[in-house]
Symmetry: C3
């Protein structure tokens, strides 16, 4: 069995981890990227494709594919859900990520707080983010500090939603749910580095939040303990709602406000790019394993252990 | 001899370091935390207690306890000072941390600059932080950019102190003072990640400073050299004032302003949570040891070396 | 052959890397710094000099010197260019760093975007930074959010230049161009930590940008790929303009704005202090080497490999 992925997002992380655990690897690359990936990965197999979506038609019976954030971007959630591609993890979670109401349902079922929604402009009593329907990638939304600012800027010709803007610090926590070891591992915490939100000088209160990288952080240990509970509740919430397991890596994206309220606004049921900062180890993965352990290696180790127990199919859902 | 601590703050750091150096460990945990700590530390002894303060009545003759920030929070400085618990480090420094005047005295004796104090509102010529007496955890203070803003917000019915608000970047530097090697080591530098002070968008100039984690940093090497001097002066200042040594880890908490003035506002005579970001190594500890060296391991190594020389009592003050 | 440098900037990085690769080392130190460097480097040769510029008169035939940022600061670009000191890397690039027009020429030849220059105040349509001629170290410049603010603050008696102030996030990317392996390596990315620009509270829009340290980051992998191209273009641009190679470490200093435009404002043709955060490894160097690899070690490894092929002179230009 080989381990494969597409040449973007966290591919270097995944491929190097697989090799370290003794797997052969396959990287799908587009022509403009091959030289770079070859410079970082001199001896793995690289298959050039015109488009990453070609993964759907490639027939490689000996490959487990590791999905990452670019899978949805390049292939599309719907096509992934309908495909028979052997993907590590649970595809079902994609549905819950995509649909705003399902997402809120899962977060609430997991006991997580989420930003308030305002149905009526007159109820606004705090900073909010106003999103027009269909807004994507930071276009088509604005942040307003109070009701007056919303009224001044609201589009009259479009539908929109109004959500509390939680003032606080961003914390993205990654977990690994191991079926082989029957335990939840808190893998690491990171901060998205966003432009121009993280600029040290802007001239207005209207930042964009375009992700350009990730920064490492550790949590206060009493807060880390809370995140461990959150991760467990998330897995259990998903199990109650779907009857299914959530194997492998996932991430819960939060903001912590001044009252130490942990507010979740997003989750990802797969490896996230924030784990790239933790190569070769995060403090937490090092503590748990007593050796270098990055997410790509962690995934490969799980695949190896499940294969030994002939249980790999439990993690390909 | 075993190494023990209570399940919070930097316990994972301490326990894993002790094990790596060949010690058996004891972790005091409350019931709600045991599952999490067991998931991170699968084979050390965990003793469940109703309250961390129970450490005072537990009789374990073979344990050196490593104090951390939660000791004072859960047990209280006074009770620690009065106890006969064998704590690694110098308890005496706690007194100097707790008392505002003693603290200033020690910092000045060590040649460190501290924020100005304003006795008279009319002298205010820069941003200040106004604290009402008894303010704790960020409640009961406010920041004002000038005298007018102070006058507008000052409570008429309470006593308060007015301190310069130093505009600059936070730098927390951790040291290890080794009796066994007779040298001061600069261990690492970090930044507290605080909410909502580190939010990328707020709507006023009144942030709270609730610590939720730590970020890694390295110092400009010419500045690192200055911090080395500061650390040495701190140890010598303490020695002049008390006649005592300061063994083990300590931290000096500073802000550097645009004139590169290093302004100290706090210190801690024990392991700080900022060292958690430097597992398994900080650049400085790696340079010095040529191997992975985190603070928990550093402490255990010191204990081991002092035991070999039959000098452990010198580090339990 | 030994490896040497002067006791500042990234000296610990360089010296420890050289030792790990089996070289003996020489550190030039001034008397006030010796104790600190001795505490970090207990067994290398340290030569005390009154001034770092004494390096020009020291005759040590068996030393390759590794230049870093403090070389120019303490010795001066002109004297370095005129000296016959065997410096690792290409001195010629210093000329292009020093001269504003040459710098712009090289960046453009490399296909990099740079901040706009405004010759006429009336053309200003965005935030700008206004620098009086001869301004240095953050003195003698100011940032203005629009034309009106420029007009209000412009000095009538001085010459000045007006440059676009790019609102975005800082990204400093370090490369290693290996002649021995005939490849370009993206070594790591970091962020300068600047006071008071990175303060979490200021009371005006006029920050200073005094570097006090560095923070680690990883780039979004699709952005990392763009930086790889940038690095390659930079080497090729320099080759086209000068007919020369650019061996060893270099850094390109950029800001990324909300349109993901990568704007370069500076470069350095030598080891930069940002690499100090990546001891003992950056995620990228670890991925590429499968072992701990910091910049000082990388340089020493290159020197060793070139010596084995009798090609060291190709990297001392």
């Amino acid at each position: 069995m080989r381990i494969g992925t597409i040449a973007s997002h966290s591919a270097l992380n995944i491929i190097s981890g697989a090799k370290t655990e003794g797997f052969e690897t396959v990287l799908l690359s587009t022509p403009n990227r091959t030289e770079f990936y070859r410079s970082m990965d001199s001896n793995g197999e690289i298959i050039e494709v015109d488009s990453f979506a070609d993964i759907l038609s490639i027939q490689l019976d000996d490959v487990v594919w590791i999905p990452h954030g670019s899978f949805v971007a390049y292939i599309g959630a719907q096509r992934i859900l309908e495909s028979t591609l052997p993907l590590f993890g649970n595809k079902e979670l994609l549905k819950w990520e995509e649909d705003r109401q399902l997402k809120a349902k899962l977060l609430h079922e997991s006991g997580l707080e989420t930003p308030l929604e305002f149905d009526d402009v007159n109820d606004i009593d705090r900073p909010v983010i106003v999103k027009t329907y269909g807004a994507a990638g930071g276009e088509g939304y604005f942040i307003a500090k109070d009701k007056d600012e919303v009224l001044k800027n609201i589009p009259s010709d479009k539908q929109y939603s109004i959500q509390e803007y939680v003032v606080g610090t961003k914390v993205f926590v990654t977990y690994f749910n191991s079926l082989a070891k029957d335990r939840l591992e808190v893998f690491g915490a990171d901060i998205r580095y966003e432009t121009d939100a993280d600029a040290n000088l802007r001239f207005d209160d209207r930042p964009s939040f375009v992700v350009i990288g990730n920064l490492p952080m550790v949590l206060r240990e009493s807060t880390l303990h809370r995140y461990y509970e959150i991760g467990k509740n998330f897995i259990e919430g998903f199990r109650r709602l779907t009857g299914q397991e959530l194997p492998g890596p996932f991430c819960i994206e939060t903001i912590i406000d001044r009252d130490q309220r942990i507010c979740a606004f997003e989750f990802s049921g797969r490896i996230v790019a924030g784990t790239n900062i933790w190569i070769p180890s995060s403090p937490y993965s090092f503590l748990q394993f007593g050796e270098e352990m990055w997410m790509g290696k962690r995934i490969a180790r799980e695949i190896g252990e499940l294969m030994q127990e002939d249980r790999l199919d439990e993690a390909i859902l």
